[in-house]
Symmetry: C2
Subunit: 138 residues, 2 copies
DNA sequence: CTCCGTGCAAATCGTTTGCACACAG
DNA sequence: CTGTGTGCAAACGATTTGCACGGAG
């Protein structure tokens, strides 16, 4: 969890209680929460916060490189960015998980890109069946 | 472009002019069209088709493994499935491109998965700046 | 003949926006 | 002080749904 205040400064932005709370909730979350899930989590601590502010804050965090937005079928999910990593998505229960800590940008060196394309980042998602769902017979 | 009728049969579904037209338009599209783009493309041939039908058909194609849905920031984009491949997304103009033809499922063998996770498919997206946008100085 | 698929319009869902006030710097 | 961030409610865009009719099998 990097220094939020410093990052915001670098963007010419201000530190607020709402931003601190959303960032803390995102870092504390076990999985990959949606904006709405974060909204409810933060509400316990800051009862007056609005969903719009959560969305604004998440955009700010993504801009500042502190989080990643993962669009999916319904609501987008967010991931606090610590290192570049891929995700697993269970086709049965929909749960997102992290791929083990290994820099996935390494695969870039193994993959030929279109001529002239300047790569900046890689996202990877492995779809399958998670251990829990496989255990229940799928 | 596989046999649509056969695939639909396998799903216990019926062949219709609308499904044929949407599938043809998807295969003919140069890039990765949205549902709405396909709607307008198909309208030239089937003036009465509705957007809802395009969405229904795309779901059917995805179910049958003939297409892939690529959710993004605005509308989702669709890709006719010929072989497993990754995508490039230009951060400037937003264009989606295909990674050169190479089976990306190969990377699965190089990446440790969470214990018990049974992988079925991999999606990969490389974000960066495409040749066109880089040429204009970005 | 039987249903599945269609077209239409309205409903829904996630997200964004406009505005007036609050507070960080 | 000065403007950026906030909360609220309304607006918005993408997708889904309910319903009655039409056509595939």
């Amino acid at each position: 969890m990097s220094d939020l205040r410093t990052t915001l400064r670098g963007q010419g932005r201000r530190m607020t209680a709402q931003r601190a709370a959303v960032y803390a909730a995102l870092c504390a979350a076990s999985g990959h929460p949606t904006a709405e899930e974060l909204f409810f989590a933060v509400r316990g601590h800051l009862p007056g916060i609005s969903l719009a502010t959560v969305y604004n804050t998440l955009d700010t965090l993504v801009d500042g490189g502190l989080a990643v937005k993962i669009p999916g079928d319904g609501a987008a999910r967010y991931d606090p960015l610590c290192f570049p990593h891929g995700h697993t998505r269970c086709a049965v229960c929909g749960t997102l998980g992290n791929l083990p800590e290994r820099d996935i940008t390494a695969v870039l060196s193994e993959i030929p890109l279109p001529t002239g394309f300047q790569a900046r980042a890689v996202t990877m998602e492995v779809e399958g069946v998670c251990a829990d769902c496989a255990g229940r017979g799928h």
